[in-house]
Amino acid sequence: MITMLLSLYWSFLKVGLFTIGGGYAMIPLMEAEVITVHGWLTASEFLDIIAVAEMTPGPISINAATFIGYTMAGVAGSLIATLGVISPSLVLLLLLSRILVKVIQNPKAANFLNGLRSALVALILLASFTLGQTAIIDLPTAIIFGLLLIASLLKQVSPLYFIAAGALLGLLLFPY
């Protein structure tokens, strides 16, 4: 139990520390830790949790950390995983914010962040391919994916509409 809590904390700490720019930046990291490194969840369970994290209020990675932590080690697991994912923000901003403001304004740091963001685009793209293999399994799921991808590239729409559309299309097209 203690070992599980420690590895939950360490995994989600890494996710928090390398989620730069928020949003979907955490997907490739969480996928690597939870599926590839530890085998805690299958890709399909992971996607279900991300979907639930999207449709509930609050930051997606905190929602996902709570859910995954609970699945692995109950209430203690959920608290530890959440603490892990928020620790880097807490420590860096509460204790080091004066220094960080200067670091971020340094041109070298700006170039580092630019390179890191290029890497992030590659990693998120790759994550959508690997996760896609478990999500897009037949014609209806391919249609749902295609429709929503095109829609989201054409228009700036809240993720909530996509979640609602995915749920509705799932109900309609599921091979019961």
Binding site: G21, Y24, A51, E54, Y70, L93, L94, I104, N114
Partner: protein, 188 residues
């Protein structure tokens, strides 16, 4: 732009800071990019805790720092109002609703509903929807970030390395950052 001094005027109660961010955390759907405008409305327009200029400074740090967008901005606003205790209240406010709601779902609702046919059908549709959101996020980020040729080449090379080596994404991020320092001599 540089405002290294952290303003701490001891007028706002910690309780008030906590309540404000609890409300943001409990009622804002759609993740970080949806939450930031709500925080802005609340702390700049409604409460007048920070000026619009201060808020854009906060956003710069929020986006250049590790961590969640909503959490990072809540901590910084809390610090400006009441120092470290204020920052902790901001963090607690944004995080607590997530933990309570997701615990209720993970412990009670999800196990209860998981095997229902209709719930199965909903998740069957949600999975490709989530993948579409992730793919769209990559494309949108790419449009914003990969403007110079260097950035595009770097991204393509790193994608290739990631596919071939199956190496941990943290390594890819660090390599990307270091390459960025070498490739872009000036801020892009």
């Amino acid at each position: 732009m540089s405002r290294q001094e952290i303003k701490t005027d001891k007028t706002e109660s910690l309780w008030h800071i906590l309540l404000t961010f609890l409300k943001v955390g409990a009622f804002t759907f759609g993740g970080g990019y949806a939450i930031l405008p709500v925080i802005q409305q609340e702390v700049v327009n409604n409460k007048k805790w920070v000026s619009p200029e201060e808020f854009s400074d906060i956003l710069i740090i929020t986006q250049g720092m590790p961590g969640q967008l909503a959490l990072n901005s809540a901590i910084q606003i809390g610090i400006r109002l009441r120092g470290i205790p204020g920052g902790l209240m901001g963090a607690l406010g944004v995080t607590a609703p997530s933990v309570i709601i997701l615990l209720a779902i993970a412990a009670y609702f999800y196990p209860l509903l998981r095997d229902n046919d209709y719930v199965q059908a909903i998740f069957y549709g949600l999975r490709p929807a989530v993948v579409a959101l992730i793919a769209a996020a990559a494309v949108k980020m790419g449009r914003g970030i990969l403007q110079g040729l260097n950035g595009v080449i770097l991204c393509a090379v790193l994608l290739l390395i990631a596919i071939i080596t199956q190496i941990h994404p943290i390594i890819i991020l660090l390599v990307g950052g270091l390459a960025g320092m070498i490739v872009c001599k000036r801020g892009v």
